[in-house]
């Protein structure tokens, strides 16, 4: 049962990796990285049950919590071209122009 789940997860990882390698657009790669992170969470959870020691299940939970940071950074960089951008317009620019 867990072995079948593990094979499915490894296949998903390989497919996501091929999409990240082939591209062609950046958004394919962002999507591939996001789904790869989800696969990693599942991988660690299933690996614990497969070996009969699900002690590190909380580790998979913390992975799920930090999984979105890189994706948000990539998307923010893509939208603003700069990570320090707040997304709001600077009011001093209106008076300067």
């Amino acid at each position: 049962m867990f072995a079948a789940a593990m094979i499915a997860i490894l296949t998903t990882m390989a497919l996501a990796l091929f999409r990240a390698a082939l591209g062609p657009t950046v958004f394919d790669r962002v999507m591939a990285m996001n789904s790869f992170g989800t696969s990693t969470v599942l991988f660690i959870a299933v690996l614990g049950f497969l070996n009969g020691r699900p002690d590190f299940l909380d580790l998979a939970l913390v992975y799920a919590l930090i999984n979105f940071i890189a994706t948000i950074a990539v998307l923010k960089y893509f939208k603003y071209g700069d990570l320090a951008e707040t997304g709001r317009r600077d009011p001093s620019e209106d008076t300067a122009s």
Partner: protein
């Protein structure tokens, strides 16, 4: 089942590394490097190193990707065509890899009960640390007392790295802002 996981994970790691080396778009390379870190985290948890796996996922896939993106926003996002042949770097990498593999020949197998760490070091920590240190948690006793200087050094390294990143990225960013301000003042 475990050897299947080992082989598939290592094959994916190798494929990812080759992909990073071949990609010319640095933005895509940063994303694939994040995938490499996630794969490394999987591999570390296969090797029963959840703490290393967690550090790899947090630092490699989380922080490093953000830092690389900040660097890309300060420089260009396209790699220039290399002017020299990749032959010399390839030879250096092959020699280093061969030396590392030669080094692993002397190592005890993973989880070997006859390994020196499991024969002498671990039993002593388990038996003596309650009297010697007095901390109920064994891992804390090892990290904070037996390896206190090691931990102090690690902290110094991380602080230095953080200060270096702040100076490099923050300094360049501030210079660019100042240049923008000057341009606006002149206009």
């Amino acid at each position: 089942m475990n050897w299947v996981i080992d082989i598939v994970l290592l094959a994916l790691l190798m494929f990812t590394a080759v992909t990073i080396a071949r990609l010319r778009g640095l933005f895509s390379a940063a994303i694939v490097a994040g995938i490499y870190s996630l794969l490394g985290a999987c591999w570390m948890s296969v090797l029963d190193q959840p703490d290393v796996a967690f550090t790899e996922a947090a630092v490699g896939a989380g922080i490093s990707t953000v830092l690389i993106l900040v660097t890309l926003s300060l420089t260009t996002s396209e790699e220039k065509e290399p002017k020299h042949t990749p032959l010399l770097p390839l030879v250096v990498v092959l020699i280093t890899g061969a030396a590392l593999i030669y080094g692993t020949i002397d190592m005890p197998r993973l989880g070997d009960p006859q390994a020196p760490t499991n024969l002498h070091v671990a039993p002593r920590y388990i038996e003596e640390s309650p009297h010697e240190i007095g901390v109920p948690n064994l891992v804390t006793a090892v990290l904070a007392s037996y390896r206190g200087y090691d931990t102090l050094g690690e902290t110094a390294v991380i602080l230095t790295a953080g200060v270096g990143v702040m100076i490099l990225l923050g300094g360049a960013r501030r210079r660019r802002w100042r240049a923008d301000d000057d341009k606006r003042d002149r206009a």
